[in-house]
């Protein structure tokens, strides 16, 4: 295959992969701290895409402006969901949390199906089809922005977790709950903050996706399947693993699309997923951070 085709495919894969990584980041963070898979993650992404869509349609807000409203709003929503719905409903049992998030995803998706029908919608932004030449390839400007913001969010999240008291408390609760409680850390608050951060990641991802993507009531599910692959690939609970895993998966998908045809791109991801589960069940990054 010619380099002039290969390089753009790899670059485009990285752009997609960064947004995948952002979605996976929220999933892996919640897993690392609460030790559960949040089954409502996909439904939250769909809801965020609808929110970004309607903010543009009804209020004329550009998604890059809406992100400053939607990410704090989704943080608050995620916080409240965990603190006042999931936590109390779970009665401290992990398998209950799992079921509650599963139930939530069914409720959210059906509510959206009811209100918005199964229609697929898109928005028009002036920069939707802008491209810039990079290393001989023409890259979509909104997707480049998506890449930059997703990487920035990952770095900020990492800084939060390693530098701030709240971030350190999150890591403390992840590994040693009793020790954290006895240090005066409010575990239900930290669980809710973590869930809120996961939801905020999804809201940011939605604002980055909507200029070049579409929304319908089921769109989140596909993304979360990929995100789950990334989480397993990068090591469950590992933030750097999610970022690197996301980029890697984006490139694999893009190359598979190139060689096998666009519609088969995702096959490569799931093939890789199965191989990793067989040979490196702890993930490519090894450590269970």
């Amino acid at each position: 295959m010619h380099l002039t085709i290969l390089i753009p495919a790899i670059l485009n894969g990285l752009l997609t992969g960064a947004v995948y990584a952002l979605i996976a980041l929220g999933l892996t963070l919640v897993y690392g701290v609460l030790h559960i898979i949040n089954f409502a993650h996909g439904a939250m992404l769909t809801a965020a895409l609808f929110a970004a869509f309607f903010m543009h349609k009804l209020l004329g807000l550009d998604p890059y402006i809406a992100v400053f409203i939607l990410s704090p709003a989704f943080f608050a929503l995620g916080y409240a969901l965990q603190r006042f719905v999931i936590g109390p409903a779970a009665h401290g049992s992990d398998s209950n949390i799992l079921l509650v998030t599963l139930g939530l995803s069914v409720v959210i998706e059906n509510a959206m199906l009811h209100f918005f029908r199964a229609d697929t919608r898109t928005i028009d932004v002036p920069y939707g089809f802008s491209v810039v030449p990079v290393a001989g390839a023409y890259l979509s400007v909104p997707r480049l922005v998506g890449f930059g913001v997703a990487v920035l969010v990952a770095v900020l999240l990492w800084a939060l977790l390693t530098r701030s008291d709240t971030g350190k408390a999150i890591r403390a609760v992840a590994k040693e709950k009793l020790g954290a409680e006895l240090s005066g850390i409010d575990v239900s608050h930290i669980y809710a903050v973590t869930f809120g951060l996961g939801a905020a990641c999804v809201a940011i991802a939605a604002c980055l996706l909507i200029p070049t993507y579409y929304v319908n009531p089921h769109v989140g599910t596909g993304f979360v399947l990929v995100a789950f692959t990334i989480v397993v690939l990068g090591g469950m609970g590992s933030i750097p693993g999610a970022l690197i895993g996301g980029l890697f998966v984006g490139v694999v998908e893009s190359l598979c699309g190139l060689y096998l045809g666009e519609s088969l791109g995702q096959i490569g991801i799931f093939l890789m997923f199965i191989l990793v589960l067989l040979f490196r069940p702890s993930g490519l990054m090894g450590e269970r951070a």
Partner: protein
């Protein structure tokens, strides 16, 4: 008995699920006191500590600390009031550096004095300063115990509960640890020392309670307890 105790536990009952572990505990610790709760494995010492810090709910009875009833408070509020519990098994944060562990000791309380308290902890445990950037999980057992106590000190406790600080340490280190606990008390810190190690504990405390099957069966000064025939038979092997 102290006239105006810092900690006063009256008729405390607590347990897990159907099982009642503590069956009416009465206990007091005065300002500047050092008091031991002694008993063999499984009698309910750790359950008592967990009830004092709000992790295990008190089912009956009262806990007063520093003039306030705390038996219905959640753990963060109890930490904020200055009752600090250094748990059995250290429970440090293995994935984080020694200094991050210490920082989290002041998460709820005394955050303003963090830098100066960290210096103080390093002065008490110079080994921790050498290991400040190392992951806590890589420390030796003795160093982890120092870190757990150091993390507790970061909150400027009014009362520190130490649950079996000598567990798993070499005899030499146990000696060192008890000496250090005594020094902390001499500097004015009230200590509730919870131990199976009866002989060495009696050497450093003002008073002790003997716990058996969830009840206090004896209490008194070390001299009184050492001369008690039952205790000699049960614990001192004399």
């Amino acid at each position: 008995m102290p006239a105006n105790p810092l900690l006063k536990v009256s008729g405390l009952h607590a347990g897990y699920g159907e099982v009642e572990i503590l069956r009416g505990i009465d206990l007091e610790v005065g300002q500047g006191d050092i008091v031991a709760v002694l008993g063999s494995n499984g009698v309910g010492k750790s359950t008592l500590n967990l009830a004092l810090s709000g992790i295990v709910k008190a089912r009956q009875g009262t806990i007063e600390f520093d003039g306030h009833a705390i038996h219905r408070e959640r753990p963060p509020a109890i930490v904020a009031s200055g009752l600090i519990h250094v748990p059995e098994g250290r429970r440090i944060f293995p994935n984080m550096s020694v200094s991050d562990n210490l920082d989290l000791g002041s998460y709820r309380r005394a955050a303003k004095h963090r830098a100066q308290n960290r210096e103080r902890v390093f002065a008490i445990f110079p080994r921790l300063r050498e290991r400040a950037t190392q992951r806590a999980g890589t420390l030796s057992g003795g160093e982890q115990q120092m870190l757990a106590i150091g993390r507790g000190l970061m909150a400027e406790p009014k009362l520190i509960i130490l649950d079996e600080p000598s567990l798993g340490l070499s005899p030499l280190l146990v000696e060192e640890m008890f000496g250090m606990i005594l020094r902390l008390n001499k500097e004015g810190l009230a200590v509730l020392l919870v131990e199976q190690n009866v002989v060495q504990s009696l050497d450093i405390v003002h008073r002790a309670y003997i716990l058996e099957h969830g009840s206090i069966v004896m209490s008194g000064t070390p001299d009184e307890l050492r001369s008690n025939a039952d205790l000699k038979r049960a614990f001192l092997g004399l």
